[in-house]
Every structure is written in structure tokens, then in C-alpha cells.
Amino acid sequence: MISETSASRIIEAAMSGNADFAEIFEEQKKSSSVGLLNGRTIRASSGIDYGVGIRLMAGTNVVYVYSCDKSEEALIKLAKEAASALKGGKSSDIKNIEALSKSSPSVLNIDPLSVSKKTNIEFLKEASDYALSYDELITQVAASYATSNRIIHILNSEGFNKEESQTRIRFSIETVATKGNEKQTGRIAPGTMRGYEYVNEYPVIDKTRECCETAIRMINAGYAPSGKMPVVIGNGFGGVIFHEACGHALESTAVGIKASCFTDKLGQQIASSVVSARDNARIEGEWGSYYTDDTGRESSDLLLIENGICKNYLVDDLGARRMGCKPTGCGRRQDFTYAPTSRMSNTYICNGTDNPADIIADTEYGLYCTKMGGGSVDTATGEFNFASEEAFMIRNGKIAEPVRGATLIGKGQEILMNIDRVGNDLELAAGMCGSVSGGVPVTVGQPTIRVSSILVGGREA
């Protein structure tokens, strides 16, 4: 770790020009992973990454430099180069570095990095063996496990001296069903900031069975119809639509330069009155959590939408300068090779009052997406598209035949206004979110919801 005296000298060098703010971001990440295919271990890797990023701001201008070289001499040279490239602004005072404060949102009874790869492999093998013997249609099982410990240390010209340790585990099991030339997959990929006890307690056989069932159901399914129709989206990973179509558009990265469809909408209705949503980075042990963000600020539990009204944006320190408001502690980055930007953490639509079974029963005809895949969105226009990994038709208020290949298409603003039912079965699901500051762990989530009308792209006209 960079000493406080070294840090002072580096910050001084960084502030020697026009900067009104300078920051040192030091990161060390230890990682370990294994991968199995059809029960055999085909991949095992371990590594340590270390690097330092130095960020300077002058007003809303930013200079970011980084290096793997941690010597004071090299970092001072880098800081001086950065200072000379920064335009605008006026020099500012440097505050004394505070005493180090440490935090961690991980709850570890058993440190995952202390668990041997052999144990990780035994866990995955149990799932693989079960899936391979589940049904002759299941022809392949891929399983992977990865864990890492990331320690970040942030020091800046405002005196910050914060360290946070983030230990995460993520594993995945993917089953492939084959029928002639056709292949369909079922997949689970949970993630946590709890210790290895999470893995020990995980109902792996039940979950692997669900994967196999999905793959087999989908291989036997016909194609989804196309056209506009009511769509019921299941809880958990269904929240990816809210994340993509609404969450990104509430980030100051977009709002701060007026490039979002939700620019200047605070206090206005942006969703139907049954919708409330939060971004809560402070859920202990949850995959997308952090207590200290990658700029050293305390994270928050932020109300984004309350009964349809836009309440808050996700604002990082640069966004705060652009928008003239306070940062919300959401500055995140994949690693030291990225400057931070405003990002989501655990983002979800809050519980409503409807019983999920009633939502289906009250839908005469439509699509029920039980498992969503990924998707993408244009935050300026709000246009998005998402693939469903498992879906069923709803006919006369009942779940009917499974269908595959359905894509949901629309505009975020319209979909939010068209949510007419919100269930009471909120669930969170782990994911990775890619944006300008790289890939960061996030959770998405929602209860079962119904959208009165979405364009479904399927193969049957």
C-alpha cells in the first residue's frame, strides 16, 4: 500500500498545475477460477493484479493516468505529466490526509480464497454429474467458479484516506439440451459477497434441475409470436429491463450532459404510479454492494422513483460538478485502468401489492417471460431490446405452452408508464454491467410485473 507520506507528495505533484482536485486510486486484486466441461476440469487459473490510477479535475475537465508501477518516483512523474495536460481551472488547497478508515460489505465466515480449488471443483462436479444423468436430451454441462478479493485504497486532495475490501464469489452452471440440430440452454449464475458458506448452503441440485428443465422445455418449444401484447415479466433477473431501460438513463454520465431521456425530470412522473424503485449499495453481502465507492465516498440507499415520480439521479463527483448537486456515492470502475463514472449497484423495482398468481389470472392473452437474458439500450432515445431465455404464452389467464426466441422491444419511458401490475415477490439476481468505466458487479431485481403492451419480436408472424 502507498504510504501517507508518499501519497502527499504524489498529490502535491498532481496539484502543481491547474487541478482543483487530485486523487490516487490504488487497487490490488487476487483472483482464482476453475472451469469444468462435462465434469472434467479444463481450466484453472490464479492471478494478482496491481495498479494505480491518478485522477485530476479542473472544473469538469478530467485527466486520468494509470500504471502498474508503484514506486513513488514513477507515480510522481506520472502525476506531473497529468498536471501538465490539465486545462482550465484554478489551483486549490490540499487538505491533510486523514487517518485511514476501512470498510467491507463482504460477510465472510469462510474466506473463499482459503478454500482449495479441489473443493470448488467437487462442488461444480456434483452439479455436472447430476445434469449429465438427468435426461438424455442434456448433452453438455459447463460449470465455472471464480472468486476474488479486491482491495481499493483511495487518497485525495480533500484528505480522503479510505480502504475497502471486497470479496466476491460467482459461479455458473449451464446445461445444453440437444435435439437434432437444435440446441437450447438453461443457466444459473448466482453471485455473492458472502463467504464460502454461501456455496456450502446453496441448493445446487435443485437449481441444476431447474436449468435442465428450462433447456429441455425450450428445445421442445415452438417459436414465440410477434406483435404487441401484454407481457408479464417474472421476478429476479427480469429486473434487467429496468436496469437497462431506466437505470442507465438516471446516471449522471447521461443526465449530466443532457444526453438522457430522463434529463430535467426530477419531481416529474416518469413511471406509472404503481412503480417505485431503489438503488441500494448498502445491502450487506449482496453481489452488487459496496460501502465505499471507487472515489472514496460513502455509498447510499437511493430512492430513484417513488410512486412513479423521479426522485433522485445516480451522481458521481464529476456528475455533481456538471449538475451542481451532491454526489450520491456511486462512482465505480472495473479496475484501475478506468476512470470512475456514475454506476448502479443493487437496483430494483420495489415490492407492490399484487399476488403474482393474480397477475397471470387477470391476463387473458399475452407472454410470460420467466427468465430474461441480456439486452441493450440507447439512453438518449430510451430504445431497448431484450431476449427472453424462457417464456410461456398466457391464454385465458393461465400459463399455456412454452415459447422460445422472444425479444422484447420498446422505449424505456413508454414501458415504465405501461407497467400496470406489480407483485409482492421481489427477488434480486446477480449480473455484470458494462459501461464507460468497464464491467462492474451489479444486481438487478423486481417482483413479478405486468406491462400492458410491449412489442414482441418472435419468428411466428
Binding site: 476440469t41 484453472a44 406483435g227 438518449a380 408472424a461
Partner: protein
């Protein structure tokens, strides 16, 4: 760290590995130096200048290859890499053997493709080019409200690799890229569009054609509406066709085939596409910005057809998959980063052009859809079965001419069916950077595809 120090470090790593008990070993050192400026509102809003260096190690013991990586370069890093790689070897039970290779006649491989123009890539020069470009984009039309993203960046970095069989490889190259995304608004409707340029000499950047293309990509979208669902003849714009091809390129990898994840397995020598379609891999293609004389395993690359007049000639192999298949590596064993294992990638790909220019293709098609953008390719596709259902944008072709933009449509089909339905390629080849190298691809005409539009009515079946 300079090249000599890097060579010395990895040589020491490899020789220590043999003493440590590995049967064979290889180490590579990769550097990535980059610079980027971003322009926003007539200012350089951010500047990045950085170097990342890392070492990847792989060691073979009892037929299993274990890997490790680090960004540290001292004796403790050597101990860490050797001990963890050995542990990884002990848990692996891969049936397929991975190889450390050296062709005695090609044991010393160098590829230096430095332009000699890299020293022109200064903060001042990039700022000047970027600021002018932003101004000129905004001047294209009063409808253009902002340039939400504009970057000018460059990268370079030597990579050196040695192994216990006597192989030494060294490569270095450089590039510059410019990307801009503009946002336009007309009667409350927002449209965005982006364009890119890449090259090796910043003075070779010609703003005029860049502006002209960007203008079409953004302003051409206004006034669009959907179309009735049905089957349409389709002209794929080069970029759109490349995005589709790239999504399914994994199917041409022998690894995917051997793992049962590609429908092309066992089809070498069979007809898989229309007889007018030829796709070649040209690692040393004259027009390509970066050429690939050898792969990451030290195997020489070669020019070859993947699809020759509709016939699937041969898959892409690295040493491991070639050994399993009883054939030779095709020189496609590449690793993406110091921390990655050797995978399989294509380099530069060339779709053989036809004779008609774009206008002649429209005239020939008479009525159909010109598809310019496919969205959500990472989500709305089944990479194994080839099924896709994608949100897309483009234009309606009527009476042999572009009639109007189309939006809110999805195209649903199957990649392998599309290959068979190709009826023409244009003479309008452009280069599209994608994957490891570039695609050289013209417009491609497909006889019919399922397009679902929004006819404004709630869909019943």
C-alpha cells in the same frame, strides 16, 4: 519496463519453471500503452495516458497445463506464478492436451509494424483534431444538438514470449482511432448515430467523408415508421452484415465444434452457404491495418478460405484442437491478454465482393428492406442454433430506390439459413474493425427474411 528487462524476466521465469518441476513452460510479457482524449462542449473533457504491463505463465506437468498471471515483476512474483500454476496443474483433468511449441525452422519470430508516426500522437494534436471535429459535426445541421461522445485515441505495445522449447516471439504495432456519436432532435424525436475512423497516421484522417457518413447515420433516421410484418428481401449494409457474421464466428472454431457447441461440426467439405458466397481469412491482407504473421503459440498463419463458393472448407484450429482432430494447427491460437489462456480467433476476414454497386443492388432488389443496424446481438441470439431475433433499423426500398427510414422492427431468422439465402454481394467493400482484426465486407443481399413490425394493433395470433 523495457524490452530487455522483460525478456530477462520471462527467461528467468521459464528456466526457474523447469527447475521447479514443470515438464515444459512458457511465459509472455505484454504491454499496452495508450492515450485517449474525449471532447465535450468545445473542451477536452478528459485525457488518459497510461501503461499496463503484465506477465502470463503456463506450465505443463503430467500432460496438464496450469496458468497464472501477475503485474508484479520481482522474485516473489516468480514464486507466486510457479506455485499457483503447479497447484492448477494438479487439479486439472483435461482429456485434450495443450502444447508448448517451437518449430526449429521458425524459432525466432518478429513482427514489428510500427508506423513511425506515433510521435505525432500528442495531446495537442489529438485535441486539435477532436475539437475541430466536434465543431464541424455540430455545424452539419441545426438538428444536431450535441456530440455526446467523441474520442481520439491511440495504442501501442510490445509483447514478447519465450518457452522452454526455444521459441522467441516479439511483436509490436500501433494504431489510432476516432469515434464520435451525435444526437439530433426534430419535433421532440431524438435520434443518435455514431461513426469511426482508424489508421496509423493522424494526418491521414480525412474529416469530410467522416462527416458525410455521420450525417447520413444520424439525420437519415428522421421520418421513419414501422412496416407491416412479413417476409422481405433484405440488403445488409456492410457493418450490419459484419456484426451478424462476427456474432456467429465462434461456430467456425474447432473448439466449439469439439465441445458440441457448433452446428458446423463434421461439415468440412459440405455446402453450408449459397454458391456465390466466399469468406476468406487473410492474416497478411495488404489493406489490413494490422497483420498477423504468427499466432500466440508460435505457429505461422496462412491465407485460407473458410467458405469457398458456399462450401465450408476448414475450421480454425490451434495446437490443442488440431491434435484432437488429427490435423495441423491453422495458426489461429491467440490469447487476448497476458491473463488469458490460448483460445481460437480469426484475424482479418474478407467477403468476396460482387459486381453491382449499392444503387444497382437497390435497383435489382426493387422492393425490400435495407438493414443498417442490428441491435442487441449479445442478447437476442442463440449462438449455437443460429436463431436470432433482433431489433433493427434501416430503410424501406421501393421501386428500386431508398424510400424512407424504418424503425421499431425486428428481424428474426437463423444464421445458417441466411448464409444459404445470400443472392448477391455488392462491389462496395469497406473495412470494419471487429474481433481481432478487420472484416473487408461489401453489402450483402438475402432473398427473404422475417421482419416483424408494429402495425399499431394489439396482436392476436
Amino acid at each position: 519496463m523495457d524490452k530487455d528487462f522483460a525478456s530477462e524476466f520471462i527467461n528467468k521465469l521459464v528456466s526457474n519453471a523447469v527447475e521447479y518441476g514443470f515438464d515444459e513452460a512458457e511465459a509472455c510479457f505484454m504491454t499496452n500503452a495508450s492515450m485517449e482524449i474525449n471532447i465535450l462542449n468545445a473542451e477536452v473533457s478528459s485525457y488518459e495516458n497510461s501503461t499496463v504491463q503484465g506477465v502470463g505463465f503456463r506450465g505443463k506437468k503430467n500432460g496438464q497445463m496450469g496458468g497464472s498471471f501477475t503485474t508484479e515483476f520481482d522474485d516473489s512474483a516468480i514464486d507466486f506464478m510457479l506455485s499457483t500454476a503447479m497447484e492448477n496443474c494438479e487439479v486439472l483433468d483435461d482429456e485434450d492436451e495443450e502444447f508448448i511449441y517451437c518449430d526449429p525452422e521458425n524459432s525466432h519470430l518478429e513482427s514489428i509494424q510500427l508506423s513511425g508516426n506515433y510521435n505525432k500522437n500528442t495531446y495537442e494534436k489529438f485535441s486539435e483534431v477532436g475539437l475541430k471535429l466536434e465543431k464541424d459535426i455540430l455545424n452539419l445541421s441545426p438538428l444536431i444538438k450535441a456530440v455526446d461522445y467523441l474520442s481520439v485515441s491511440c495504442g501501442t505495445g510490445p509483447s514478447v514470449s519465450v518457452n522452454s522449447k526455444g521459441l522467441y516471439t516479439y511483436k509490436d504495432s500501433d494504431f489510432i482511432s476516432i469515434f464520435a456519436e451525435a444526437r439530433a432532435e426534430k419535433d421532440g424525436v431524438v435520434k443518435t448515430g455514431g461513426h469511426y475512423w482508424f489508421g496509423k497516421d493522424i494526418d491521414a484522417f480525412d474529416e469530410k467523408p467522416f462527416l458525410e457518413t455521420l450525417r447520413k447515420k444520424v439525420l437519415g433516421k428522421f421520418g421513419g415508421s414501422s412496416v407491416e410484418s412479413g417476409e422481405y428481401k433484405v440488403i445488409f449494409d456492410s457493418e450490419a452484415f459484419v456484426s451478424l457474421l462476427q456474432t456467429f464466428m465462434g461456430a467456425f472454431s474447432s473448439y466449439s465444434m469439439q465441445k458440441g457447441l457448433s452446428l458446423l461440426a463434421g461439415k468440412e467439405g459440405e455446402v453450408i452457404a449459397s454458391d456465390i458466397f466466399t469468406l476468406r481469412e487473410e492474416p497478411m491482407y495488404e489493406k489490413a491495418l494490422i497483420k498477423f504473421p504468427f499466432d500466440s503459440e508460435g505457429v505461422l498463419t496462412k491465407s485460407k478460405a473458410l467458405i469457398d463458393n458456399g462450401v465450408f472448407v476448414k475450421a480454425l484450429y490451434n495446437l490443442k484442437t488440431a491434435n484432437k482432430a488429427g490435423t495441423k494447427s491453422t495458426g489461429n491460437g491467440f490469447k487476448g491478454a497476458y491473463s488469458s489462456p490460448v483460445g481460437i480467433s480469426a484475424t482479418n476476414l474478407v467477403v468476396t465482393p460482387g459486381e453491382k454497386d449499392f444503387d444497382a443492388l437497390c435497383e435489382w432488389v426493387q422492393d425490400g428492406i435495407y438493414l443498417t443496424e442490428l441491435n442487441g446481438l449479445h442478447a437476442g441470439v442463440n449462438k449455437i442454433s443460429g436463431d436470432f431475433s433482433l431489433f433493427c433499423e434501416g430503410y424501406l426500398i421501393k421501386d428500386g430506390k431508398i424510400a424512407r427510414p424504418v424503425e421499431q422492427i425486428t428481424v428474426s431468422d437463423n444464421f445458417y439459413d441466411v448464409l444459404k439465402k445470400i443472392i448477391a454481394t455488392g462491389s462496395d467493400t469497406i473495412s470494419v474493425p471487429e474481433g481481432k482484426g478487420e472484416y473487408f465486407c461489401p453489402s450483402v443481399v438475402v432473398s427473404k427474411m422475417n421482419i416483424s413490425g408494429d402495425t399499431g394493433e394489439e396482436g392476436e395470433e
